[in-house]
């Protein structure tokens, strides 16, 4: 290897905390990057990975300050640049791709104006040349309609396309280094893979060096040549991707890898257990409800499922699939337009106000973000004490004793009771969140994305806890997630939602075996696996990008690789039972689906 392109030495970044003191958030970071190499910075929230990435552009977030060390790009001392020299440096020599393209594009300017702005600012060629180059990049990034997409405004294109457009913006001035900061984290898994593929192609194609920031080891395994593991602002381990994945030296890296690998939990509930919750023909949505019981904006259509006592149902779907609405309908927060929800064989009134306290007690909700799920002005004792008082009429010392027992149940120390949520860590908050649901002594807990806001290791601990509690207390759970791994590891049964329809339902084992509904197939094959080269080997099963317009009879028609025009878009798909004992909604028969299936990973 010749002299490195980028050399970072003893970098230290400090930030002001709430008390006004300066504390280091990145300490003593040193690494190099060769020309054309891709280095991944991996770590959990607070690890300092984004801070380091921004420092490479000579930038620190408001309230932060680059306090020491050196960054050299080629011959340039980045931290010694004057303000105006820094402006010439940014974009021209190092460019940045942010996590949320939707927020990072200026809503008032056309895409082309923003993509070519850097080229114009840095005086590289004329406007016409810049536009030509932008169109070439759009094409390379597999964007639809590359000659005309630039004339649109950011809100007129999809999230996955915007993320690719941002890559075009970063590459337009032909920089030496591009920094990608969690560029696919905000995307659905089926969108993520196309974006990753496009990124990889242009990065390799242009020979640019890249720093790729992520919390997701499986994504990084596809993109990076080397991996740098960070924790609490300190470097833990750095090495070639293959080595880190196969033989991690540092215990922290080992724990990250362990948490990322799916571990099956829990034994399936006895199949003969009586049904606890039965949902029949459920349709729900927003707006006025017409004579047939269809709302103006339907979110869920004709959903059937059963949760047996002591078992766990996983609900998978991408954003907008209606999975969170399902929890709201069962809890009574959004009355169903049609269909029925039965608890222990007795129909539940659709609206919350009509349900009895006993009915309300038996179903409890646990929300995704513990930050908004706990009243920041209440102590943990009062957060947990209220449902005890409300449902069981227990007051005073007896209530406090129950609070203590609940904290014990979720493995929190009793001293937590006097604190407010702001003084707790993310994992502790989620445990309190769970304890509050348990305080009601429910039969069924509806969990909405309970681990997706948590770091992998913390999330895995919460899943273990929930699994233990479920068996100990004989609870049933409905587990809503966008993450196939999570659902596969905790649920006995799985239901896949697409655009408000139940496209596939079966046992956990059934979901691991081909054949699948084409959407399930796409979902399964889109989840990155923890091995290098997976991205290259995975074929594309994706149809064209979803087109706007009238809803076809099969909601998945526009994106389906197996769609049969003239049938699928006209006739609603029939319900089909597969040999693996799963139900799907599809016109294709089992043999055709089997043929199209991509074998899932080990």
């Amino acid at each position: 290897m010749s002299a490195p392109l980028l050399e970072v030495r003893n970098l230290e970044v400090r930030a002001r905390n709430a008390a006004g003191q300066e504390v280091p958030i990145v300490r003593d970071a040193s690494f190099t990057l060769a020309k054309g190499e891709v280095l991944a910075l991996i770590g959990e929230s607070g690890s300092g990975k984004t801070t380091i990435a921004l420092a490479l552009l000579g930038y620190a977030k408001p309230g932060c300050r680059i306090a020491g060390g050196s960054i050299r790009l080629g011959e340039t001392d980045v931290l010694g640049l004057s303000k105006s020299a820094l402006r010439d440096f940014r974009g021209r020599r190092v460019s940045y791709v942010a996590q949320s393209a939707a927020a990072s594009f200026n809503p008032s300017l056309t895409i082309m104006a923003q993509v070519t702005e850097m080229a114009m600012l840095h005086g590289i060629g004329s406007a016409a040349e810049a536009e030509k180059r932008a169109i070439a990049l759009f094409r390379a990034l597999a964007l639809p309609d590359p000659t005309r997409i630039g004339a649109r405004y950011p809100h007129q294109v999809s999230g996955g396309q915007l993320q690719r457009l941002m890559a075009a913006m970063a590459l337009i001035a032909e920089p030496e280094l591009v920094v990608l900061d969690e560029p696919t984290t905000a995307l659905d898994v089926t969108t993520q893979i196309e974006v990753l593929r496009a990124f990889k192609q242009v990065v390799k194609g242009s020979g640019v060096s890249a720093v790729y920031v992520s919390h997701d080891l499986a994504v990084v395994a596809q993109m990076a040549d080397r991996i740098l593991v960070l924790r609490n602002g300190e470097m833990q381990e750095i090495g070639p991707t293959g080595e880190i994945l196969a033989a991690p030296k540092h215990p922290y890296t080992q724990s990250l890898l362990a948490a990322a690998a799916p571990t099956p939990r829990g034994a399936a509930a006895a199949p003969e257990a009586p049904p606890l919750l039965e949902v029949r023909g459920l349709t729900a949505g927003y707006g006025r409800i017409d004579a047939q019981g269809n709302p103006t904006l339907p979110v869920l259509r004709d959903i059937d499922f059963t949760i047996r006592r002591g078992s766990s149902l996983g609900v998978i779907g991408e954003s907008g699939s209606g999975k969170s609405t399902l929890a709201r309908v069962i809890a009574g927060l959004l009355p169903a337009a049609r269909g029925e929800v039965m608890l222990d064989g007795a129909a539940l009134p659709p609206a919350l106000a009509r349900r009895t306290p006993a009915q309300l007690r038996r179903i409890q909700l646990v929300f995704q973000s513990a930050d908004t799920a706990l009243n920041p002005r209440a102590s943990v004792a009062s957060i947990l004490g209220r449902p005890i008082e409300f449902f069981h009429g227990v007051k005073g010392a007896a209530r406090d004793a129950r609070v203590k027992r609940l904290l014990d149940l979720v493995q929190l120390p009793a001293s937590v009771a006097d604190r407010q949520p702001g003084a707790l860590s993310g994992g502790q908050k989620q445990r309190v969140n769970l304890a509050r649901a348990l305080a009601a002594e429910p039969d069924l807990i509806l969990c909405d994305e309970v681990t997706s806001a948590l770091d992998t290791v913390v999330g895995a601990a919460i899943l273990d806890l929930m699994d233990g509690l479920r068996r100990e207390l004989g609870l049933s759970t409905m587990f809503i997630s966008h993450d196939l791994h999570t659902v596969r590891s905790v649920c006995d049964e799985v239901m896949v939602l697409y655009a408000g329809e139940r496209v596939e339902a079966g046992s956990r084992r059934a979901i691991q075996e081909a054949p699948w509904h084409p959407y399930t197939n796409l979902l399964i094959s889109s989840v990155p696996e923890l091995r290098q080269g997976w991205l290259e080997r995975r074929g594309s099963v994706r149809g064209p990008e979803a087109a706007a317009g009238a809803r076809p009879a099969c909601a998945f028609f526009a994106r389906c690789g197996l769609a049969m025009p003239g049938l699928c878009d006209v006739t609603p798909p029939p319900r089909r039972t597969l040999a693996k004992a799963a139900e799907i909604l599809c016109h294709r028969d089992e043999a055709a689906l089997m043929q199209a299936s991509i074998p899932a990973g080990p």
Partner: protein, 271 residues
């Protein structure tokens, strides 16, 4: 809530405390009775005998300002309590109940907000005269929509959070939701907004009194004091300026004190 007292915030609190004390004890500590003519010379400048000079009839300005405090501070405080209190109640109810109730309250108050405050005050005074109760009620009503908008938008954003949804799914009633879940999370900005309403009302009432349409003689608030001494303007007499400075010290003091409470929304909500 009050974490680090900045010097400016402390100053604001001190000024505010002083004027509130004067509103209660002003008449007792004033050197002279409000109406007593103490000197044959009118518009006297500042002196040891008359620290704020004398007015157009030769009365002691310091005593007049101290006697006027209870009208300026008292009336504005009463009106601000009405405005913020009813705004907060309506705002939280609109947020929790939503739908039709929210729409009806919002539309009704939007009509009120499309009458500029001074215009509303003038029309009310033309119709009902200007007794102290009318002034309090009028100013209270005028500033209710503004207080409502702030309280509602704060309450709506808290109401959308999951902990309120959880409480609602538990079957909690409106009173509990408002008292235990929403109010504690909006009280800081609401208090700051209360201070701001107080300032607006002080300014509005001072303006009305200045026009001769506020507190009526023989009583006088600070605005009336400026008005009755306007003849001294061309001599730059302290009798004109001192009451105006008293108003300025009160309003700036409250503004500084609001910064201590922190998080008040000041911009975007004009008079």
């Amino acid at each position: 809530m009050i974490r680090r007292l900045s010097p400016a915030g402390l100053l604001g609190l001190l000024i505010l405390a002083f004027w509130v004390a004067m509103a209660v004890f002003g008449a007792a500590v004033a050197p002279h009775a409000a109406g007593r003519i103490v000197d044959m010379e009118v518009f006297l400048p500042v002196s040891a005998d008359y620290p704020l000079g004398t007015d157009y009839l030769g009365r002691d300005m310091l005593s007049r300002v101290l006697h006027g405090t209870r009208y300026t501070v008292g009336v504005a405080l009463g009106a601000a309590l009405i405005a913020s209190g009813s705004g907060l109640m309506l705002g939280m109810c609109a947020a929790v109940w939503g739908g039709m109730v929210d729409g009806a309250i919002s539309r009704a108050l939007d009509t009120l907000i499309s009458i500029p405050s001074k215009m509303f005050a003038l029309v009310v005074v033309a119709a009902f005269g200007s007794s102290v109760p009318v002034l309090i009620l009028m100013a209270g009503i005028i500033y209710t929509p503004g207080a409502y908008r702030i309280a509602r938008s704060l309450a709506v954003s808290v109401n959308a959070q999951d902990f309120v949804t959880v409480a609602r799914a538990r079957g909690e009633g409106t009173l509990y939701l408002v008292r235990a879940e929403i109010l504690p999370n909006i009280i800081g900005p609401v208090l700051a907004d209360f201070g701001l309403r107080f300032v607006y009302i002080v300014l509005l009432l001072a303006g009305m009194s200045f026009l001769g349409l506020g507190v009526q003689p023989p009583n006088a608030d600070w605005g009336s004091l400026v008005r009755e001494n306007m003849a001294g303007l061309h001599e730059a007499a302290p009798a004109v300026l001192m009451p105006a400075f008293a108003i300025a010290s009160l309003t700036i003091g409250v503004n500084l004190a609001i910064d201590v409470l922190g998080g008040g929304r000041r911009e975007g909500d004009g008079h």
